[in-house]
Symmetry: C2
Subunit: 304 residues, 2 copies
């Protein structure tokens, strides 16, 4: 059973092409949709994929380059035209507090909800979001301006109580929560039924790491080790490794290296430079380091 669905809204880089939109992706988990980055045009690409704006409450912005955040004002304005209350929370570096509120004041008047910018430090990993099933942590990146990726991590779920055992031992409902949490069950005659007989472990938590934009950064490895899916930027190919170094971006090979070193389960590469007319070479280079690599593309939905 898949727990996440990732929708790629844009996987191009700064120079827009006719093939790629600027960075944005929507991550669905249960009844929530999280938006990760919000390049120009994101609201239209979001709706084009049949996603519901009403379900969107948390927006995570990796850094303040235009191709990752210039769709924010239009999106908030459109959310304001929907009949929704509550609040919309934008997680971003502190500089967002200087840039966006004046724009919301100019272009998003009379919003029926609060817009709150929750600043995070891009320099150390910290939990910036938590609900009953999920946490989101920042992943410090190495880019020309302060930038962070995001780790979406399911919480450890309680063990599953086996239905036939619960019935056989006549376990009352008020005891079940503690048994799911790991307790044994004591029968009226004092016999102890060990927890392992009554429950099976829940499926392990699923984890997703988003790392864009960044140079190859070894410090990420312990933070993203073993994630189910790593989205890593791969702006350039081998032939432009000097350009990658200069602009603090990664090559596809470096993305593959990161996936291998962090022993992730799957790698998706994106944030492709406009110089490539197709990304097959990038894919091949990444796969030389890490076989289980796929290409991001607009419209792709990936469940895991």
């Amino acid at each position: 059973m898949n727990r996440f669905e990732l929708s790629i809204l844009g996987c191009g880089s700064a120079f827009p092409t006719l093939r790629h939109n600027p960075s944005a992706q929507a991550l669905s988990h249960r009844d929530r949709v999280f938006l990760v980055d919000c390049g120009e045009g994101t609201q239209q690409h979001y709706r084009r994929q049949g996603l519901k704006l009403m379900r969107l409450q948390h927006i995570f912005i990796s850094h303040l380059h235009g191709d990752h955040c210039l769709g924010l004002v239009g999106l908030i304005s459109t959310l304001g035209l929907l009949d929704r209350g509550g609040e919309v929370i934008i997680h971003a570096v502190p500089d967002a507090l200087r840039i966006f509120p004046p724009l919301f004041e100019t272009f998003c008047q009379e919003l029926p909800f609060e817009v709150r910018i929750e600043p995070f430090s891009p320099f150390k990993s910290a939990t910036i979001y938590e609900d009953d099933t999920l946490t989101v942590k920042t992943l410090p990146l190495k880019h020309r301006i302060p930038a962070a990726g995001f780790l979406f991590e399911e919480k450890e779920a309680p063990r599953h109580l086996l239905g036939d055992m619960a019935e056989f031992y006549k376990i009352p409902h008020y005891r079940r929560a503690e048994i799911k949490a790991g307790a044994d069950f004591v029968l009226p005659d004092g016999t102890v039924v060990p927890n392992s007989r009554l429950t099976r472990p829940a499926a392990p938590p699923v984890r997703y790491a988003y790392c864009s934009d960044t140079a190859y950064n070894e410090k990420l490895i312990p933070l993203i080790e073993g994630v189910d899916l790593l989205y890593h930027e791969a702006t350039f190919g081998d032939e432009a490794v000097a350009m990658a170094r200069h602009t603090l971006h990664s090559t596809a090979r470096q993305a593959g290296l990161m996936a291998r070193n962090a022993r992730v389960k799957k790698l998706m590469i994106g944030h492709f430079s406009a110089r490539y007319n197709d990304e097959e070479t990038l894919l091949a280079e990444a796969r030389e380091e890490f076989a289980d690599t796929i290409l991001a593309r607009e419209g792709l939905r990936y469940s895991f």
Copy 2:
């Protein structure tokens, strides 16, 4: 021979739909392209129509609602990635001087050209652009915030000197400019050859008026009288005339009425509300007032 080509990049209104982009259009005249309004995503729609960013130097913004200008920062940033010098001039209401320079500073660093915002008053018609063949005048509109449309007007061209007459009378080259300007030609024997025998009038100047967003505004009539093409907003249909009045927009019928009263040659309606799944009803209502009406749509190229 057509002098203008109008490319519709977006003809929706504030709430984006899957059918329409926010307002933007490119008007080509000789080797220049003028951008009129620049909603979110304009740079991508511009390039999708095969238009060249290098040819773009003047951008005209009707008013500072997001659906008419939120694509500006991304566009300027992208122009900055091209190897071009000179300057880019944004014609807009004075408030643009407060809003955009800080954004250009944040998102468009190290531009290889100057960006200049040329403020205009939205309250009186004035010439805000002029080159050797064209002028652009503002058209004060009636909207919730200060707004102006634009009148693109070819200059009166000199008369055409008839080739066979020039040869027959042996008119020397250095006399031809004054004859094109209307002078008669005097033969060596003193005979006066009247100008009307030597020249024919140039084709009359072509004019284009862009009026969005605006309530029905009678004051526009003398300013746009007889234009070759009028683009007029038609956000709503008859059934929503109260809504049009309340939001200072026009109905399709009012756009038709404006076209009829201003005796324009052709009307194109646009800026359609998201409530309409197709605009045939709007078209029919406009045509009841002015038969020669067409619908704007993304991708439409109209030559005149």
